[in-house]
């Protein structure tokens, strides 16, 4: 898998936009204009990958939602990128009847069934538009890639496959079947896009196992059908020189409930935790000025600003996973370099002004032209750099405000100590009863982590004490009920998740992290340095990839879709350590685990790890789901 998943998906999308023909490198080709029609699923898939400018470069003049009112646009082909659901098919048939476009290229995000194909065919016949439907494709792109090596399943209907939906006590078999089918369909699309058949390992006895069984069956069926298989022929040959197959590890969220609740300290995870971060887009509300609002009239307008954090943003790529103080310093450095370059350009301008007064010879003019051209060509770069610096300054400031008001550094430090079972210097009760250290949610999270990671459940009296303190702080206690149940369940299983040895060293109580003149005055915020530690998911991956023997993972089931007989022996046939792995968390994941996996990969040369989850939630959303579960 030389190319990342993101590149593969982008290439597939671009090929689709090129009217399903392979892309040529020819810039002298005549432009072909087209219209792109998508539904909400397609919108979620395309928006992190292709910006409007890139769409325009590919010749897309209009991009519209399927279910909006669309006017007829003659003379151009229309590319549809939709899910094959009932309403979408109905709408397509309606479009055919209204003859909105000249030709239609129908691309379905996942495979369309035969009966729906017949529906479209009959609608086309009645509308006399049979010659207009030029191509029908199954794109197998039913997943959203957020980073080079991270993907989530779907965004629109995530309540259907959320942790809550999977774990609620009154779930019906049919519901479970639909959920499993959705997940397996998306995973299948993922493997088709990746072009590799993995070896599947999963723990026993939970949702992950069900998904693994179904996925194995689906892959096996597809491989058996030699003529229609998606994995044979050119697919395998293109650029895949590794003869190893990737390892696919399916884990369930129930394995580790403390990590989603954890307070975090790295940049990307903090943004996800504290701000509204959604499909690589941050929405920040900035309360506008301090005008007194006249009585009874309009409320203060809040400026909502949104920023895109993309792969092209070098600063973001470099510092996604750095601890926050480092990020603040780097922003400051970038600002300084930018100012230096700006001064350079200004100096050039003044020199130009002086020299332009003599009647120079041709050579002098051309020299100046050259300098001017170089300054002009570097100007867009400078402007872009400035925009990025502004973006990160705003985002980091917003995050810093949250940190300061909620004292997130205190929580982080305490939770790290809890999770690594080192000695605590402050009692939990103190923090909970502290009125200005964080919102009630923060306190609840801290307490839940304490409850989860405690080797022995605390005594009833202690629990009562804590409960009283929490209620005073205004927390909602229903998640606690659910966690108690969960703990009872997992007690039977292996030892509770060991979070490894970690340590958090505060570098003294700095009042300022940087020199004066900077905007990031982190007064009273500790400059915490993260030490390397491994979350449970990472440890399991490590064991499986390196074929280490470990009581936790020895019990995992082993599936190989390429083997002739579908036996589910737990004896792995493959004795070599794996080079590539995909970790998928059924029930939801978050950026902390992702960051941990990225760090793990960086430490080992030549290994690639992809992280996927059925949905991405931050701690607040997870807490909400837990409280819903606890109320049942």
């Amino acid at each position: 898998m030389a190319a990342s998943v993101r590149e593969k998906q982008t290439a597939a999308l671009k090929r689709m936009l090129n009217l399903n023909a392979p892309l040529l490198k020819n810039t002298a080709a005549e432009p072909v204009w087209k219209v792109l029609v998508y539904d909400r699923f397609g919108q979620d898939i395309i928006s992190p990958l292709l910006s409007v400018k890139e769409l325009r470069d590919m010749g897309v003049t209009l991009h519209l939602l399927l279910h909006s009112d669309r006017d007829p646009i003659p003379d151009v082909p229309a590319i549809y990128f939709v899910m094959p659901s009932e309403e979408n098919i109905d709408r397509i048939c309606q479009d055919l009847r209204n003859q909105l476009h000249e030709t239609y290229y129908l691309n379905f995000i996942s495979a369309i069934s035969r009966s729906k194909l017949e529906d479209i065919a009959s609608a086309a016949l009645t509308a006399n538009a049979t010659t207009q439907i030029t191509k029908v494709f199954d794109q197998y792109l039913n997943f959203i890639t957020l980073e080079d090596d991270m993907f989530i399943l779907c965004n629109q209907t995530k309540e259907m496959i959320s942790y809550h939906a999977i774990n609620k006590p009154d779930i019906m078999d049919t519901d479970m079947e639909t959920i499993m089918d959705t997940i397996v369909d998306s995973l299948f699309c993922f493997f088709v896009t990746l072009g590799a058949v993995p070896i599947i390992r999963c723990p026993r006895g939970n949702a992950a196992e069900m998904v693994a069984v179904k996925l194995d069956k689906k892959l096996r069926e597809n491989l058996r059908d030699a003529r229609n298989s998606l994995f044979t022929g050119d697919n395998m040959g293109s650029g895949q020189f590794s003869f190893q197959r990737p390892l696919f590890v399916l884990v369930d969220r129930n394995l580790d409930l403390a990590t989603p609740l954890h307070h975090t300290w790295t940049y990307q995870a903090l943004i996800h935790d504290v701000l509204d971060f959604h499909l690589n887009r941050v929405n920040i509300e900035e309360a506008s000025g301090t005008e007194a609002s006249p009585a009874g009239a309009r409320p203060k307008k809040k400026n909502k600003k949104s920023y895109d954090l993309t792969a092209a943003d070098k600063f973001w790529q470099k510092h996604k996973g750095s601890p926050f103080p480092e990020v603040a310093e780097s922003v400051q450095e970038e600002l300084d370099t930018y100012r230096a370059q700006e001064d350079e350009v200004k100096r050039l301008k003044s020199i130009m002004g002086l020299e332009g007064e003599d009647e120079g010879a041709i050579s002098m003019l051309s020299d100046n032209t050259a300098k001017l051209t170089s300054a002009m060509s570097s100007l867009p770069e400078l402007l872009e750099k400035k925009r990025l610096i502004d973006l990160h300054t705003n985002v980091a400031t917003a995050v810093l405000d949250h940190i300061k008001s909620r004292k997130l550094d205190v929580y982080f430090e305490y939770e790290e100590k809890l999770m690594s079972k080192s000695t605590l210097d402050k009692s939990l009760l103190d923090i909970i009863s502290d009125p200005d250290a964080g919102t009630p949610e923060d306190k609840m999270r801290l307490f839940l982590i304490f409850y989860i990671t405690a080797p022995m459940p605390p005594s009833e009296a202690d629990v009562e004490q804590y409960k009283k303190a929490l209620l005073d702080a205004g927390c909602d206690l229903s998640p606690l009920n659910y966690i108690k149940q969960w703990k009872a369940f997992t007690k039977m299983a292996a030892t509770p998740a060991n979070y490894g040895n970690s340590g958090v060293k505060p570098m003294g109580l700095f009042s300022r992290v940087m020199n004066t003149g900077s905007q990031f005055v982190m007064e009273g915020v500790k400059n915490l340095v993260l030490k390397q530690h491994n979350l449970p998911v990472t440890r399991i991956l490590d064991n499986l990839m390196e074929m280490k023997s470990n009581p936790e993972t020895d019990d995992y089931r082993y599936f190989d879709p390429k083997m002739l007989r579908g036996n589910d022996s737990s004896i792995p046939r493959n004795k070599n350590p794996f080079q590539e792995a995909i970790v998928f968390v059924v029930g939801g994941g978050n950026y902390i685990e992702y960051q941990n996996l990225v760090d793990y990969t960086k430490a080992r040369q030549g290994k690639r790890v992809f992280y996927g989850c059925s949905e991405l939630f931050n701690a607040a959303q997870f807490l909400k789901q837990l409280s819903e579960l606890g109320q049942k």
Binding site: A12, R15, M16, N18, N20, A21, P22, L24, T27, A28, A29, E30, P31, K34, Q43, S47, P48, S51, V52, K53, R56, L62, L65, D71, P72, I73, P74, D75, P77, Q99, T103, A111, I112, L117, E118, I120, A121, A124, L125, N128, T130, T131, Q132, T134, K135, F137, D138, Y140, V192, G195, D225, N228, L230, D234, N235, S238, L279, R281, R298, A370
Partner: protein
Amino acid sequence: MNTRRRHGTRNNEDGVYHGPSLTQPQLLQQADAPLSTSLPLAPPVDLGGASCRDRTTEFQSVLRSLLARQNGIQTSKPALSAVRQRSDFTLMAKRIGRDLSNTFAKLEKLTILAQRKSLFDDKAPEIDELTYIVKQDINSLNKQIAQLQELVRSRSRQNSRHLQTHSNTIVVSLQSKLAAMSNDFRSVLEVRTENLKEQHSRREQFSPAPAHYSPNTSSPLQGNNFNAGNSLLMQDDSKRPGDVSIDMDFRASQQMQLVNEQTSYIQSRADTMQNIETTIVELGSIFQQLAHMVKEQEEVVQRIDAHVEDTQFNVEAAHTEILKYFQSVSANRWLLIKIFLILIIFFIVFVVFLG
């Protein structure tokens, strides 16, 4: 869902030509290809290394089976002609697009020519001609695009909203392509100027050495000299004390010839340089014009779900405003009622008091 494929019997079915598989990259689906003729077949695993599946053939087989079923029931309506009447906007846009791609090809050729740095094989007239042609092309494209924009503006009232956006986007993208091309043209001209300067300096280096030896063999070199006139004359001056008048005549006539050649050559070179400079200036103005037009209609780099959120936000804001208005109106109503009641009460009191 797995359809069985019948291989080998599919060619020339229904009189439709099923050409070679679409894994070959030549077949670009163009919108103006007449669709009624060839509906190409494609094997199931398509497009060499692709991760998608082509269901077109399946779709067509479904169509055929449905058609067969329907034919017994109702008479088939005449199929819509796929080659429709094209609006003149589309025709014009297509023409401009074609011209753009042609000019691009010419520009690429020019780039290759201009980058050659050899001293001897300088295809100056070709380069000049090509430069002239490209300049004319860019000018005419500029005018055509301006015309297209006028056409779009004049139609703006009768076009639907989406059609208007579509037309505007086409115009903008043509303009930006033209801008990119003129940028490339400008850089090619700069490269050419650089190369000319280099050639000049290199010739200056070479020219003193051969002038000392035989004038005959050096004449082809001198013929190519750029600014060699000065150096030659100077060297001849330096040699004069050692020369005899016999040589003098011979050399003088040769020199006259050479000087003539050189002056005409220098002249042509100077012309070229001037040409290039004027072209650069003109290009600069065109470029500015284009940039201005592009800026007018440029959108901020955004993603496709930006508008939805914008509109949602606006709709929410509008909703709150409406709610407030409603509240004020209903508040007003209450006030009115109260005031009315009070008035009635006063009226009654007044009447009773008086009465």
